[in-house]
Symmetry: C2
Subunit: 341 residues, 2 copies
């Protein structure tokens, strides 16, 4: 085994769009675990939109990423050495070891995963944080009923693809919004949504509203927002009385420079009154007490063949920055993963 | 008794601000009640912001007011003739008899009111729809806890004044937003709010945010919105994690022409995620099942001297249009009433 490993640190904070030079690849000697610590070789790294927020200075719901520190990130991998009684060499584990080929961490911060029926990488996606985000927003905020219509943006993504499939399992009409005909075909033909609107095919917000009106002829009762901006404004035009909107992400806004009125401004707040809507933002890590229930549900549906997922896999840690920029630009289909081994 | 009465009808729909010529005063013979009907002499007419919405053409949560029909409005008055077994001459009643000195209506649409301890006009305000709006939004949407900070806009108005007083009774810090030093003095000195920010004294949204930051040094946990626009955007900058926002009215927006991006656009939706907020619009007539409970609560607090209210009274039906325009421009303090007798 090599005596060194590679990691990626935050080299500088982006202004606007993330650039490759905001990251730096470093090579370091593999550390030894101390008391209660475990050395893990990471097999897969998860790339997620929330990481963009951590790259900024200043207040968000979490501390910003420090300059020079390993980029934050969820990982799955294999125990290589253990000084913690709950883990032995060869165990498969999930943790937050960051953009890094190896990591040493207290065993308390790791979790065993069962890869006999579910592939290891799925613990970063459909039975990981993105799946939980879909499950929480769907069940705990939207709480939709059979026969209602649900819309989800970024419908081909790691979160949106689960939301729409849960909606179909729940007896709803599921409408996706996605970028480009390929993603839309995936959403309808493979994931089973009733309709998908290609926002890139709509020349403006009005055209997007018209396309959605056709896809959701009875209006929209529940909306799961991952993107913001025109997508959200278009859906708001179609909300039925007592509709619910769950705000999981606003990726269209993450690369705006500060101080500018965001593209994602909610242009017609009168809808709050006219349709008596509820709009609620959430962060799934606020609700860790529900993860066992949610992940058990999702795992059972996955093993039963009732949920499908896709991954976009970048090979080699060195390509993580490029893959992350691609994620922010919507180039991935399904869960964006970096394969490290 | 006179054989004629006067009413005000919608003469034309406003574009932008309401004008006196949008109304027409008419004189008609007093009708006789048919089977099950009651003839009521209205003593007081309520003027409320929602009436502005009814003057527009097109979809809202209610049908638009028809041209040539009596303007909609809540009234309290006295039974003059009754063909309904639940009412006798002299009873005091509340109904929706509109901008009119007399009205005939099926007894089913009237409600007896007890004016022994509570003045008749209060049934249009603090123990009427505005009081219920405050009660519903406060208890059912904001559901705040002692020690939290609540902000309410239009704090000197019929709804806002009740919201802030409920907050003080609940052990919260209550901060009002109102237009002008006279209203602010009323809010703090008479109603007992902890602080009041004069939005007319702030030169822009940034200055308003700064003034609110001083008034709410621990941030804002619950916000009751009656106005929208800069007020809402300023408060959104100060929301604490898991804050709740109840949207009861957006009066700053009601006189915008259609198709223009409203002044009231929510400029920073990232707050939904960063603070995981819930924002919910409501219309109190959706929740009629709660009115007995709410109005009993409010009536008991009023009789016990724990709630105060003020009225701005216009004398004579002919002055209702002018008083309504004044209401939309924020000229009233407390509940805007028209005295008809």
């Amino acid at each position: 085994m090599s005596k060194t490993y590679r990691r990626i640190v935050l080299a500088s904070r982006p202004t606007g769009w993330v650039m490759p030079e905001n990251f730096r690849l470093e090579t370091l000697p593999i550390p030894s675990p101390g008391p209660n610590e475990v050395l893990v070789r990471n097999h897969y790294l998860s790339l997620d939109p929330y990481m963009r927020g951590r790259m900024n200075e200043g207040k968000s719901y979490a501390q910003p990423q420090e300059i020079g520190a390993t980029m934050i990130g969820a990982t799955v991998g294999e125990v290589v050495a253990s000084h913690h009684r709950a883990f032995t060499v060869g165990n498969h584990v999930r943790g937050m070891l960051g953009w890094s080929e190896f990591g040493v961490v207290n065993g308390k911060a790791l979790e065993r995963i069962d890869t006999r029926k579910i592939p290891m990488s799925a613990y970063l996606g459909i039975v990981g944080m993105p799946g939980m985000a879909a499950w929480y927003g769907y069940h705990k905020i939207l709480a939709p009923k059979a026969g209602e219509t649900l819309v989800v943006s970024a419908a081909s993504g790691a979160v949106g693809s689960v939301v729409g499939q849960l909606a179909k399992l729940g007896g709803l009409r599921a409408v996706g919004i996605a970028g480009g005909p390929e993603k839309c075909r995936y959403v309808t033909d493979e994931l089973g949504f009733d309709a998908c609107v290609d926002y890139r095919g709509a020349k403006d917000a009005e055209a997007l509203t018209q396309a959605l009106r056709i896809a959701a002829p009875k209006g929209v009762d529940a909306h799961f927002e991952n993107v913001g901006g025109d997508a959200l404004n278009a859906v708001m035009n179609l909300l039925n009385p007592f509709a619910r909107v769950a705000i999981c992400g606003l990726i269209s806004d993450y690369n705006n420079e500060r101080g500018v009125v965001p593209h994602s401004a909610i242009r017609n707040p009168a809808v709050f009154l006219v349709a008596r809507i509820k709009m609620q933002g959430f962060i799934v890590s606020d609700h860790l007490e529900l993860w066992p229930q949610g992940l058990t549900d999702l795992g059972a549906l996955l093993v039963a063949g009732k949920l499908k997922f896709r991954e976009t896999i970048a090979e080699n840690l060195a390509r993580a920055p490029e893959a992350f920029i691609g994620l922010l630009r919507g180039r991935n289909v399904g869960k964006q993963i970096v394969k490290l081994v």
